[in-house]
Amino acid sequence: MIDYLVRYYDRLLAALLEHLEIVLLAMLFSVVLAALLTLLCQFSERLSKLLVHLLSVVYSVPSLAMLALMIPLTGLGTVTAVIVLVIYNQYLLLRNILAGLDGVDRGVTEAAMGMGMTRLQLLWQIKLPLAKKAVVAGLRIALVSTVSIATIAASINAGGLGAILFDGLRTMNTAKILWGSLLSAALALGADRLLALAERKSA
């Protein structure tokens, strides 16, 4: 195993960076899209329920199937992988954010509305700060899930740590399987710790 690391560390590093790139891109687009959808949900309770329900159905599609389904639309490669990851994340992010916003004390939101805050002022100044815990929890879950689902994206030639893992599986190379899994797990844990730390710092 150490042997493999010494011999192919540049290949491993490249895979790790590739993986990181997919994850960061996916998270960036996920957060932007989730923010827009959250905004949209402020204007209709019914829309927000429908959306979360819809997203939960999509989320229940296995990732391999989802990747395969996307190939005819966007082809093989990183773009498709990122799109699929963004779609999955919408459920994780939206559900957590909306539940957090909904959990804000009724008396607080009623006072804010009664004093003449607009919906966006209410969201930005009152609800989001008070729902910070839930928002960060959603981000953490999405991040960990993105790191792990991104390995599966190697099956559509998106590269990353999954490529090494699948390679190892095909050739029964234990070192490859282990390094692929280990690095992916370490990446997930590391990213999660980082977010947890950022949360504590800002609290």
Binding site: D105, A111, G114, M115, G116, T118, I126, P129
Partner: protein, 254 residues
């Protein structure tokens, strides 16, 4: 001038068997202190929220200082109304000073003006600014929290105050003190007050007139003296009677 006018206002919530308010008409003159009295579920909160349009009426008209509330910008209407609720609803992540400055900030007052006004308001409700303005709501007693709630509602000097059982969760000593201070505030400012309560003593103590609601309809709307002297048949009579019973209970110990 009339501060508030209801003309045949009805409101029924979706899925509810009966109307929360049915064909309600009344007027409140500018400068009056009107209490709205009735048992839980009779429509008191609904009546108040129709005024600041947290609820919309199904039919009828609501005028605020002569202007139809339907015609004006919702946010603007609300910023001109002082609103105090039983849950108080202070923003837990903001300091006392920031809470009090909520509407001035929405109206983009400059910083010095906001600071001066905040200090003035805290003093008005009996909280020493230096001691309290940098605290968070969780660092205050219930009575102090409602004082901040009151200061926050008074911030931009609204002509009318809507108060929904504001002292309902306070102990009777704190409540008595705040009732007296509220009466003094009314005398000094001449603002119009609409004050909701289910407590008959509070209603009769504070109200220049008392609007008694029963099942979404006005049972009687008159001065406390007139109601006690000539209670309307039925609900109001039994209400006054039960208050008398309570008085007799205490007299037995004198």
């Amino acid at each position: 001038m009339n501060a508030v006018t209801f003309q045949n206002v009805s409101k029924r919530f979706k899925g509810a068997g009966r109307s929360a308010l049915e064909n309600v008409s009344f007027t409140v003159e500018e400068g009056e202190f009107v209490t709205v009295l009735g048992p839980s579920g009779c429509g008191k909160t609904t009546l108040l929220k129709l005024i600041n349009r947290l609820y919309e009426p199904d039919s009828g008209q609501i005028l605020l200082f002569g202007e139809d509330t339907q015609g004006v910008d919702l946010v603007k209407v609300r910023r001109g109304i002082g609103y105090v609720i039983q849950q108080i609803g202070l923003f837990p992540h903001w300091t006392v000073a920031e809470n009090v400055a909520t509407v001035p900030k929405l109206l983009k007052w400059d910083r010095d003006r906001i600071r001066a006004r905040t200090d003035e308001l805290l003093r008005l409700v009996g909280l020493e600014p230096e001691e309290y303005k940098n605290r968070y709501p969780s660092q205050l007693s219930g009575g102090q929290q409602q004082r901040v709630g009151l200061a926050r509602a008074l911030a931009v000097d609204p002509k009318i105050m809507l108060m929904d059982e504001p002292f309902g969760a306070l102990d009777s000593i704190t409540r008595g003190k705040l009732q007296q201070e509220l009466l003094a505030l009314h005398r000094e400012t001449g603002k119009t007050f609409l004050f909701v309560t289910h407590d008959i003593e509070e209603a009769f103590l504070l109200g220049g007139r008392v609007l008694i609601l029963d099942g979404g309809k006005i049972a009687q709307f008159d001065t406390p003296e007139a109601i006690i002297r000539r209670p309307a048949e039925g609900f109001v009579r039994s209400l006054v009677e039960s208050a008398r019973e309570k008085g007799r209970f205490w007299e037995a110990y004198l």
